[in-house]
């Protein structure tokens, strides 16, 4: 039995029982990384010295008889757009290639306090913009199920690391599906919380009103455990919610009899791969057999979700990324004649084409000429989409959709057709637009590649998602399948 292939809660129990030490667990994970990382390329930075120091301290504390929490001594990965004090945080951009933050993101601080051990920082699409991790300025992460395919994105490195057993869990961020989509393509759990449930302090902003930190996990129980440590109000982020969510473990092992599930038909429309659709519907049948009531519903505004998402998120991004100007930190062009050139050259050379495309789209949408027809109209439609969902959640506890219209594509395959690529975000962006929680959970395989089912609930309804997901998992066990590496 390889330690690295176990789940977080299994490892936790073994450490608690004194069967293994945190150092041994870490040895196993780094051994795994050594064995497969050349193929996967999930990590941008490995933090071995740091990790062993942390593991040693956890082992000492445990030996002293200190009662430690669930995450104590658990190796984890963190997406490289989440600030880690003293450790490079590059956002997979040449712009921040050598940037070392002077402070920790709130979540990282909490995870460290809980004793989780950072193994390394994972690859992503540059500044989290993309859905294949191919826009990273540094490396192309491979899908552990097929090394010729993308892991999805933008949190592709985090998803691949968990799928390849290179970490027990991984933290990522989700702006339009950046956790759920790679989770779906890599066959792991990806959870995007209610907007404001987890502090964004220290997350390098892409689109502030959509960005949400979340986690990848090997199974639903792990997911519930991790969320317990991440959630909570943070005075440093005024958009975080001053609400107690309670213990998510209480949502495990619950009967789902009578649970009301809506299937919004717009998400099962053309564009969704036939086999993928079938798998989701099979998954829904599992829940139905367990006593849930399933109904097809209609969400007519859903078709506007992608343009709304791209206009607002790009607008916010154009402003959020303006600070990377070569003046204080980050990339600065070597040659420039004046201030204007310092800006233009640094930004032209420092950003990749996807990022530049979004900055241009956003700058255009916010320009006085287009503000009303683009940005402001998108805000209005955003409100309508939100309302429509709120109404749906009066009748239904959860909504189930595919996470992504297809299985993972070949590396380089899709990047040519931007609009087609953007349109495939259709299933995931709604949750970000409305600020509601959503999870992608493995629900089968198509052509040997994982397919994810998306479960959404109303804002702060995470317990319902976990309840349904756990019931589903216990009756399917897709998570037990592992890629051969």
């Amino acid at each position: 039995m390889d330690l690295f292939s176990l789940t977080l809660h299994e490892i936790r129990d073994m450490m608690r029982n004194g069967e293994i030490s945190s150092k041994e667990v870490l040895d196993s994970v780094y051994g795994r990384i050594e064995a497969v990382e050349d193929k996967i390329e999930a990590y941008l930075t490995l933090t071995k010295d740091y990790a062993y120091e942390a593991a040693e301290s956890i082992d000492k504390r445990r030996l002293k008889g200190e009662k430690l929490g669930d995450l104590a001594g658990i190796p984890m990965a963190v997406k490289d757009n989440i600030s880690t004090k003293g450790i490079k945080t590059t956002c997979a951009s040449k712009m921040l290639e050598n940037y070392i933050p002077p402070f920790d993101a709130h979540v990282f601080e909490k995870l460290k306090e809980a004793g989780a051990i950072l193994v390394g920082k994972t690859n992503l699409d540059e500044f989290a913009m993309g859905c294949s991790t191919e826009t990273s300025a540094f490396k192309i992460t491979k899908n552990p199920w097929d090394l010729e395919r993308v892991p999805g994105g933008s949190s592709g490195g985090s998803a691949a690391a968990v799928a390849a057993d290179e970490a027990y869990f991984a933290i990522g961020s989700d702006t339009g599906g950046s956790m759920r989509q790679p989770a779906s393509l890599c066959g792991v759990i990806g959870f995007k919380p209610t907007y404001g449930a987890i502090s964004r302090y220290g997350l390098v902003a892409f689109a502030s009103s959509f960005d949400q930190i979340g986690t990848f996990a090997k199974d639903v129980e792990d997911c519930a455990i991790i969320l317990n440590y991440l959630y909570g109000y943070d005075e440093k982020d005024t958009t975080s919610l001053p609400i107690e969510f309670g213990d998510f473990k209480e949502a495990l092992n619950k009967d789902i009899k009578g649970m009301k599930i809506g299937l919004p038909k717009e998400y099962y429309d053309k564009g969704i791969d036939g086999e993928v659709k079938e798998m989701i519907l099979d998954g829904v049948k599992v829940l139905e057999r367990l006593g849930a009531h399933v109904e097809e519903i209609s969400l007519p505004y859903a078709k506007y979700a992608v343009p709304v998402y791209y206009i607002i998120s790009s607008s916010e991004a154009s402003s959020n990324l303006a600070r990377f100007d070569g003046v204080r930190y980050g990339y600065r062009a070597k040659e420039y004649k004046d201030l204007e050139e310092l800006y233009v050259n640094s930004r032209s050379q420092g950003f990749g084409s996807e990022v530049k495309f979004r900055i241009m789209l956003g700058t255009y949408s916010l320009s006085s000429k287009c503000y009303d027809t683009h940005y402001n109209r998108a805000l209005k439609v955003r409100r309508l989409i939100k309302q429509e969902l709120e109404e749906a959640f009066v009748k239904y506890d959860i909504l189930i959709t595919p996470t992504y219209p297809t299985i993972a594509s070949k590396i380089g395959e899709k990047s040519e057709d931007l609009v087609a690529m953007y349109m495939s975000d259709i299933c995931t962006v709604t949750a970000n637009i409305a600020g509601i929680p959503a999870m992608s959970i493995p629900c089968g395989f198509s052509k040997g590649l994982p397919v994810g089912m998306q479960i959404m609930s109303k804002a702060m309804g995470e317990a319902d998602i976990i309840k349904a997901a756990h019931a589903f998992e216990k009756n399917t066990n897709y998570y037990k399948n592992k890629p051969t590496l």
């Binding site: 945080t89 402070f103 993101a105 302090y201 440093k236 958009t239 916010e316 303006a322 320009s367 006085s368």
Partner: protein, 476 residues
């Protein structure tokens, strides 16, 4: 053709909160460069702003004092532009939903009250400061100590009709902000900054002319001079059949002219949009009322009270209440004083003169109001002549000593002893029989000569009123 001038002012006041607008860095003027800054006010990736509640409170205080409507719901927005002193490349400000709107200020022009509308007051953050190398040093440095310092921007309606009105408005506004103790209001240091929009139109025309915006006016005098210059420039252009170009111009204080900075076509598109990192500002009516209740006495109320309480003329009261410091100085001096009008004369005369001549603040005057009160008493009691008193005042400023001590040291004590003066008068009368005859024959100005002789004999120390009286008595 007769033209009418239209002016509106945009005033920025730095709020004197203890900490900055969106982080807990100290809000301090001066200080070593880049010591009061942190990842938030330096725009580090991932850092988020948190609105300082005191900033809202100070802005509401200003809004209430300027008779504004306070919005129960407002929000912050981003104003996007690139400049090295702006670390996030956007300024957090308020765009379409300002904290306060629809207020007014009363100014007095030619003895008439005039209300100047306040369009809006909103909160925003200041930028850092660029420190440029000299010509041989080809670089600039940025000091972020000021980055994120809270500001309020107070925008007036285009209700001002002359450069003088603009100045009176700004003086009044400055006084109110000082009374509220929410800003230092130092134009030289930049804690109070003023931009002006000016246009002219033929008298009787309803629509506005093309305006220019004037920046970089660092004193009240500069504001008035710049606007007078600009007003004249507009007149000259229009009367020669030309057209005004809508543009932003900079006041060049040394040359006494305005110079073009950028035209409307070159103006930035700031791409304002709601700040997604901050939640809307939602205020509670009761909280606003509690701030209203705690507002200090404002200049207009104080002026009325001074007239009533101290019996001084309206004019005096309006000057004395211009700044909070001066009004407090006067009040401390006049309270319980037998002669408040004399106190008023002294404060408006000597005190303001010395402040202006020495270019100092009242707190640097070195003279306690009680000491000035006693100096005035000495004059009233006849111990000091008014010329002597001015000498003593000058010494008080220089040495910080008390008036009684200085009167003795300078030997300025007036002779008011009736016996001594009687002797003096008798002697002068005896020695000037011819003039006495003249006086008795009706040549009244002869008396003045005799008084002068008495003063001369006393080496200027005798009380002239007393001499006058005794001479009359003796010669009648």
């Amino acid at each position: 053709m007769n033209y009418e001038t239209i002016i509106g002012l945009e005033v920025h006041a730095e709020l004197s909160t203890k900490t900055k607008a969106f982080c807990s860095c100290k809000n301090e003027f001066g200080g070593e460069v880049n010591t009061n800054c942190c990842p938030i006010c330096m725009g580090y990736p991932g850092a988020l702003p948190v609105l300082n509640k005191k900033v809202v409170e100070y802005a509401v205080r200003a809004g209430l004092a300027l008779n504004c409507h306070i919005s129960l719901f407002s929000k912050t927005d981003r104003k996007n532009y690139f400049y090295p002193d702006l670390p996030k490349a956007y300024q957090i400000s308020q765009f379409d939903l300002p904290l306060c709107r629809d207020g007014r200020i009363k100014i007095e022009i030619d003895g008439q009250d005039k209300h100047i509308g306040i369009t809006r007051i909103h909160i925003e953050e200041d930028a850092g400061k660029l420190l440029h190398g000299t010509e041989s040093e080809d670089y600039s440095l940025v000091d972020f100590n000021r980055s994120g310092v809270p500001l309020i921007e107070i925008v007036s309606e285009p209700d001002l009709r002359s450069p003088l009105e603009a100045r009176l408005y700004l003086e009044k506004l400055k006084g109110i902000l000082e009374y509220l103790e929410i800003s230092d209001c130092k134009m030289q240091e930049g804690s109070l900054r003023c931009d002006a929009n000016i246009s002219i139109r033929p008298v009787g025309q309803k629509s506005f002319g093309i305006k220019t915006e004037i920046k970089n006016m660092n004193s009240m005098k500069a504001l008035q001079r710049a606007l007078e210059y600009e007003e004249e420039r507009h007149r000259r252009i229009l009367s020669q059949g030309g057209t005004i170009i809508q543009e932003t111009r900079r006041w060049d204080e040394a040359k006494g002219i305005t110079v073009s900075m950028r035209t409307k076509e070159q103006a930035d598109d700031y791409r304002n949009f709601p700040e997604p990192d901050l939640v809307p500002i939602v205020l509670d009516k009761e909280w606003i009322e509690s701030i209203r209740k705690d507002l200090p006495e404002l200049p207009d109320d104080k002026r009325k009270r001074f007239v009533k309480e101290f019996g001084i003329p309206e004019y005096d009261a309006s000057i004395l209440t211009l700044t909070k410091e001066l009004s407090n100085f006067f009040e401390e001096c006049a309270k319980g004083h037998k002669n408040p009008k004399a106190v008023s004369n002294w404060v408006m005369g000597e005190v303001l003169r010395i402040m202006k001549e020495e270019d100092i603040e009242l707190k640097d005057l070195n003279i306690k109001p009680q000491s000035l009160g006693r100096l005035i008493d000495l004059v009233d009691e006849g111990v000091l002549s008014s010329t002597g008193a001015k000498q003593v005042f000058e010494e008080m400023y220089k040495t910080g000593e008390e008036p009684e001590v200085l009167v003795d040291r300078l030997g300025l004590k007036q002779i008011s002893d009736e016996d001594a003066i009687a002797e003096l008068v008798k002697k002068v009368v005896d020695e000037n029989q011819k003039t006495v005859e003249d006086y008795k024959r009706g040549k009244t100005n002869a008396l003045g000569y005799l008084v002068g002789q008495c003063m001369k004999a006393s080496k200027g120390k005798a009380n002239p009123q007393l001499i006058n009286k005794m001479l009359r008595d003796l010669l009648s």
